[in-house]
């Protein structure tokens, strides 16, 4: 049997539009995940603040302990039972962002805790509050250390975003399946989609490497 890529070529504009949606979904959920991860990561720094710590830990356990697909379906198919009908795009972005935030929070916590304790002490010793010390002294150093593991997380997020095609979002995966449904060329179309995901993750890797090099050149790291 020979390969026939003509459905891919004739449907290229569909695939491209799908890729744009994939980029949109992942970018927005990335921002949400980072914001959430920062808050939860900081919330889990101090177990003595019991309520905050417990809430953050419960979130982490629940999200990491259940499949992303189940979480997405709860948002999209489950919430309407309570009359909460969210648009598909919002469900996808919320689901991915909440899921990613759990992993980002551990990256944030690890990076912050890897900054030498003396940095916080020195900052507090000149009279800075804990919050000021965190913003001006600890986080700028921690951010550089977050980049490699965040890169992993971003790439995982791009790939996981294919699941939102099941919420009727017209992302790259969804558009590909549409083409398959009329052409029956599964292998060719899935190969094309794989290449496009590969390009997206590759670009992300390049950008992150640039950012990291720039931060290092700025003298942020010894």
């Amino acid at each position: 049997m020979e390969l026939d890529f003509s459905p891919v070529w004739s449907g290229w504009n569909l695939l491209l539009r799908g890729a744009v949606v994939t980029v949109e979904v992942t970018s927005v959920s990335l921002l949400l995940g980072c914001a959430l991860g920062l808050l939860v990561g900081i919330g889990r720094l101090n177990p003595k603040r019991r309520v905050i710590y417990a809430a953050c830990t419960a979130y982490l356990a629940a999200i990491r302990g259940t499949p992303l697909l189940v979480q997405l379906f709860i948002l999209f198919f489950g919430l309407p039972q309570f009359g909460i009908l969210l648009p598909a795009f919002l469900c996808g972005v919320l689901g991915l962002g909440i899921y990613s935030g759990a992993y980002v929070s551990e990256i944030v916590r690890g990076a912050i805790q890897s900054v030498d304790r003396g940095q916080m002490e020195a900052a507090r010793s000149i009279g800075l509050s804990a919050g000021q010390a965190m913003r001006s002294v600890i986080l700028p150093q921690a951010v550089v250390r977050m980049i490699p593991p965040l890169g992993n997380e971003f790439i995982a997020l791009i790939k996981n975003s294919a699941l939102v095609s099941l919420l009727t979002i017209h992302d790259l995966m969804h558009e590909g399946q549409k083409i398959i449904s009329v052409s029956y060329r599964s292998l060719e179309v899935y190969l094309a989609i794989a290449v496009m995901y590969f390009v997206l993750t590759g670009l992300t890797t390049l950008v992150l490497r640039r950012v990291e090099l720039r931060l290092r050149a700025g003298g942020m790291v010894q």
Binding site: Q119, S125, I126, G127, L128, S129, V221
Partner: protein
């Protein structure tokens, strides 16, 4: 000798200070007063509680019992610490220099010094920069203003750390083994800056193993062992005629090494 002015109120007053890490009692009932402009050097074997004692004085360690009054604030009373916000205000008056320098590696030398004044003393960038440059001149590092900490030697880092603490215009300076992490040839430049501060009348508490510095600069030497002060007095007395056997043993061990 500045310790003669016993009638002026002390700038640091410590009564019955207690601190334990779990079961391990580190400070067991410390009483001590420091007069304004006095230089107090704390010596003693490692593990005697010297650093913990110093760190209690600006609230980096939380004391569990006793009372600390410093620069007009009651930092600790019956083992209860001042509220966090008031602790921040107090720390502006009590500078601290660490053994491992703890410069902020992501900020230039100048920015290390101006961070506190700009955030807490409300100085504009120009004012803070001018003050920082003056302090750098004082510690002999004016030409390093734009350098990153990683490019400095240990002695230079510690001098920047001193300038950073001074930028808050503290009334008391605490030094926690400021020369212990330095190569021997770099110790002198740091001690020189500390001597300059002492001669200007800064109140200083210094934990150190530099006996020569203690002999030359200290008004009072405190000898600690086992979480308590076993002996204190002018350096001449402590070094030539200590009353305690443990002091004698410690001094012999330290001076034999030199």
């Amino acid at each position: 000798m500045k310790n003669a002015q016993a009638d002026t109120p002390p700038i640091i007053s410590i009564r019955g200070l207690r601190k334990a890490f779990g079961e391990h009692v580190v400070l067991d009932g410390i009483d001590f007063d420091v007069q304004p402009s006095q230089v107090v050097v704390v010596i003693g074997p490692s593990g005697s509680g010297k650093s913990t004692f110093l760190r209690c004085c600006n609230g980096l360690e939380q004391a569990e019992g006793g009372r600390i009054d410093i620069c007009g604030h009651t930092l600790v009373q019956d083992g209860r610490m001042l509220a966090d916000a008031d602790c921040n205000a107090l720390r502006q008056e009590v500078g601290m220099v660490f053994q491992s320098f703890n410069l902020f590696p992501h900020l230039s030398v100048l920015h290390n010094i101006t961070l506190g004044p700009r955030k807490l003393r409300g100085l504009t960038r120009e004012q803070a920069d001018a003050e920082a440059r003056a302090l750098l001149r004082k510690v002999g590092l004016e030409q390093k203003a734009d350098a990153m900490p990683a490019s400095l030697s240990g002695g230079q880092k510690q001098r920047v750390a001193i300038a950073r603490a001074l930028a808050m215009k503290p009334r008391v300076m605490l030094f926690d083994e400021p020369t212990s992490a330095l190569d021997p040839e770099l110790v002198g430049e740091v001690l020189q800056v500390m001597k300059l501060l002492a001669s200007e009348g800064m109140t200083m508490m210094v934990v150190t193993h530099e006996m020569e510095f203690a002999r030359e600069v200290a008004d009072v030497v405190i000898v600690m062992d086992g979480g308590g002060i076993i002996e204190s007095g002018p350096p001449a007395t402590i070094f030539t005629n200590p009353t305690q056997e443990r002091t004698r043993g410690f001094l012999q061990a330290v001076l034999a090494r030199a």
